[in-house]
């Protein structure tokens, strides 16, 4: 086999692989991208049922209650202007607290209650997920982050 034919073969093989990879990526993007929304976004745009999404905001103070089975937890996520009821069954992360920023992943049910299968209270340095900070800033309810942040904000 000549050098040229060998090279052609390798090029064809790489192109084939790249094609396969792009097809896989595009297919997976179609079905598996999870969009992030804030309660206000959800109220304004609505969400397709059964489509997975991430919802982020603060856990509304006084909204957390546990159902009789001891495992199912109801709470509300708020961004200051709108709130969404969330139901979650399982063990909450250590950082989950009322007034704390969280992101939940799941889908919006027919009854308007968000059924979460994952609750993320990320172990970020500021203990606040970035998306939540952005969403709060957008809705004008961003309070800053206490002394550390206010000193950093000074020029």
């Amino acid at each position: 086999m000549t050098r040229k034919r060998k090279r052609l073969l390798v090029v064809l093989l790489s192109l084939g692989l790249l094609g396969t990879a792009s097809a896989l990526v595009l297919l997976a993007f179609n079905d598996n991208l999870v969009f992030f929304m804030s309660p206000s976004d959800l109220a304004a745009k609505g969400a397709p049922e059964t489509r997975r999404l991430r919802l982020g905001g603060l856990v509304e103070t006084g909204s957390v209650s546990r159902e009789a089975d001891g495992r199912t937890i109801d709470f509300k996520i708020t961004d200051g202007s709108k709130d969404v009821a969330v139901v979650f069954s399982g063990v909450l992360p250590d950082l989950f607290r009322e007034g704390q920023g969280v992101v939940v992943e799941g889908a919006l049910g027919r009854n308007g209650v968000f059924k979460a299968d994952t609750v993320l209270a990320k172990h970020d340095e500021r203990y606040m997920p970035k998306e939540v900070v952005d969403a709060l800033k957008q809705s004008g309810h961003w309070q800053g982050e206490g002394p550390a942040a206010s000193t950093a904000a000074k020029p």
Binding site: T20, V25, H123
Partner: protein, 660 residues
């Protein structure tokens, strides 16, 4: 005073790095031995200076010197000594210092062990190392000075993120950085070869041990990170396809490809330009990994800082460090003559396939990791890409690679015989089919994909052993000859077999995760939960006092059909300084399965929530990584890489070059 000394040492190191990036290069171009030799001294000098700076920072942490800003932000006087030491690199500034410490360590190692290299190649390699060093020293000094003083000094520090206070995580960054930064050596060799315009078998022989060492460290680093996530986060997961994890996984994938393609350069003098490109891309991905994690672009455990100035600086560094070599590559690569020809079905062909699949796999991970960032930066929707994406893109690409593993070593160089290789793998195929059938028939619930995964593991494992048996002619009758042959087999051959066996072990661990079971129960002390044949009784929960936390410590007695198995102590810890709770998981393992218990708050009526997992074969995931790294080390200890051997090769290569 000590801190200022450290700061000064860093500044001095920057000066040395600048000298090192210019003078040896000029010397090599002019052929002046004295100027070329300067690179060695500056490299060792840089290492000494950075070690001094690092020691100064460590001193500040250990003595809790709260006049230093990083110490205040990341330490506390009540923190245990071990975490005061590991606290040095658990934050942005300190970890960048660790980065350059390892960079200069590798630079000094090249100077030290590279005395057998041709002086001009050594000078150029060290010059490129100097350039990388100069960039990072400037980055540290101008944007993230670890020796920044605070006045007045606060009485105590803010403490360290509790989940980072862990031994596994303490040694995870050094290993990860040994890997990331270790690839800088192959990068420097690649750039030096481009400047020189010459790549030969001897070059590959020098590059491979460095790549191998970096790869081993990265393998261990990734495994440690995954293990840490498994036992600290309390969710029982060991890989989340989190961008930070992907940032370390991409250099690993391409580095693995580099490891394999360098063999072709060494043995067959082919695939030169491709290998050079891989060396550049591997280190570029290591830099991008650093950028992703350090710039705070990603919100994650590892993103310590959100500072746009740093981001811009790293972006600029990336542009120069990746763009420069790629331009050089575009100019010089066409002049590098390809060597030996080979048929598509051959050892070389198999290694090309390995490279293409690994590179494409890395590309899909790259897209999945960066697309959300890209979309966000463009002002589009906020999206996240998780498990399903990677399961449907990366996994299908890896399947053919894994199936092909046992074939590769059985194919001859230049022209291989696929049929003959297949015949020698009949035992492996039989083992794989037997495993799949046995699992499908015996294990409930029936999981077809997982059964196939276990079959794949058996195929690779038995296939590798078959190749070894073939080499020592085990089946032609066992005798003294067999042992002699086994002894004569080079260490690198054992290294390959071990590393591939490690892959099989890891695959088995991953596949078996389909059979894990989970139970979450609200229990009163004294009540039991059963899972996978085990009975777990929560005896009591008591309040205990740790060095810098208080904890609720549960005592869980595990029995199986009435006979005791283990007593486990899951804890829920509360760190007083940070006002933060963490989970301390209790894990009981017999290396065939893990019993994993998490204690969480109950409903407030003297109950506790127990989250229990039974995870078959899960330790094999990390065990396999360990075996892979061991294989790498075994190969690294091969006689071929020893200094004396390199000298002989140099002379031979010099002789060959003179003949040209």
């Amino acid at each position: 005073m000590i801190a200022e000394l450290g700061h000064f040492a860093l500044a001095l190191a920057l000066v040395l790095a600048v000298v090192q990036s210019v003078v040896p290069l000029y010397g090599a171009a002019r052929g002046e031995p004295a100027l070329m030799a300067l690179g060695g001294s500056t490299a060792i000098g840089q290492f000494a200076l950075v070690a001094l700076a690092f020691a100064a920072l460590a001193h500040a942490y250990v003595t809790s010197d709260f006049s230093l800003a990083t110490v205040v932000e990341n330490s506390h006087s009540t923190k245990p000594l071990l975490y005061k030491i590991t606290g040095v690199w658990s934050n942005h500034e300190g970890s960048m210092l660790l980065w350059v410490l390892i960079l200069t360590l590798f630079g000094a190692a090249v100077a030290w062990f590279g005395t057998a290299l041709p002086p001009d190649l050594r000078a150029r390699v060290l010059a490129v190392q100097g350039m990388i060093g100069a960039g990072f020293f400037a980055f540290i000094l101008f944007t993230s000075n670890p020796f920044l003083r605070l006045s007045p000094a606060p009485p105590d520090g803010n403490g360290m993120n509790p989940i980072l206070q862990d031994l596994g995580l303490a040694i995870h960054p050094p290993f990860l950085y040994l890997g990331y930064v270790g690839f800088s050596v192959s990068f420097s060799f690649a750039v030096a070869a481009l400047i020189e315009g010459r790549v030969d078998a001897a070059w590959a022989r020098w590059v491979r041990p460095w790549t191998l060492a970096a790869w081993c460290a990265l393998t261990v680093g990734i495994a440690l990170g995954s293990w840490w996530a498994y036992y600290t986060l309390g969710w029982g997961g060991w890989w989340y396809w989190d961008p930070v994890e992907n940032a370390s996984f991409m250099p690993w994938l391409v580095g693995t490809a580099l490891l394999h393609s360098a063999i072709v350069v060494e043995k067959r003098d082919a695939l030169k330009t491709w290998t050079i490109l891989l060396a550049i891309v591997t280190f570029a991905l290591s830099l991008i990994g650093t950028f992703l994690v350090r710039s705070g672009v990603l919100t994650s455990v590892h993103a310590f800082a959100v500072d746009p100035a740093r981001g811009l600086f790293i972006l600029l560094l990336l542009l120069i460090a990746i763009g420069g070599p790629l331009i050089l590559y575009a100019v010089r690569a066409p002049s590098l003559k390809g060597g030996g020809l080979f048929a598509p079905i051959s050892r070389e062909g198999a290694l090309v396939l390995n490279n293409l699949l690994l590179a494409t796999g890395a590309l899909t991970v790259f897209i999945g990791t960066l697309y959300p960032l890209f979309l966000d930066a463009m002002g589009g929707d906020k999206v996240s890409v998780g498990f399903p994406f990677f399961n449907r893109t990366f996994v299908p690409l890896m399947a053919p690679l894994l199936i092909a593993i046992p074939f590769g070593p059985l194919l001859g160089w230049k022209r291989g015989d696929l049929l003959a290789a297949g015949q020698r793998l009949i035992a492996a195929a039989a083992a794989a089919i037997a495993v799949v059938l046995a699992v499908l028939l015996l294990v409930r619930p029936a999981e077809v994909l997982a059964a196939l995964g276990l079959g794949l593991a058996a195929w690779i494992g038995v296939g590798c052993l078959a190749e070894w048996a073939d080499r020592v002619q085990l089946l032609r009758g066992f005798g003294r000859d067999t042992l002699a042959r086994a002894r004569r087999l080079p260490r690198s051959a054992y290294g390959m077999t071990l590393a591939h066996l490690g892959v099989a072990v890891t695959i088995a661990g991953i596949a078996a995760s389909a059979w894990e079971s989970e139970r979450i129960e609200l229990v009163h002390p004294g009540e039991s939960v059963s899972i996978a044949g085990y009975d777990l009784r929560l005896d009591n929960v008591e309040r205990i006092q740790g060095p810098n936390y208080t904890a609720d410590r549960g005592t869980v007695t595990v029995t199986r059909r009435g006979s005791p198995v283990a007593v486990m102590h899951p804890e829920k810890r509360f760190f007083t300084v940070q006002q933060m709770a963490t989970t301390f998981t209790a894990i009981d393992t017999d290396l065939l399965s893990d019993l994993y218990v998490v204690l969480a708050d109950g409903d407030g009526n003297s109950t506790w929530t127990l989250r229990i997992y039974e995870k078959p074969l899960v330790p094999w995931i990390w065990l396999g990584c360990g075996v892979m790294a061991l294989g790498g080390l075994m190969s690294l200890s091969d006689r071929r890489w020893r200094v004396g051997a390199a000298v002989r090769r140099t002379r031979a290569a010099a002789g060959a070059a003179a003949d040209d």
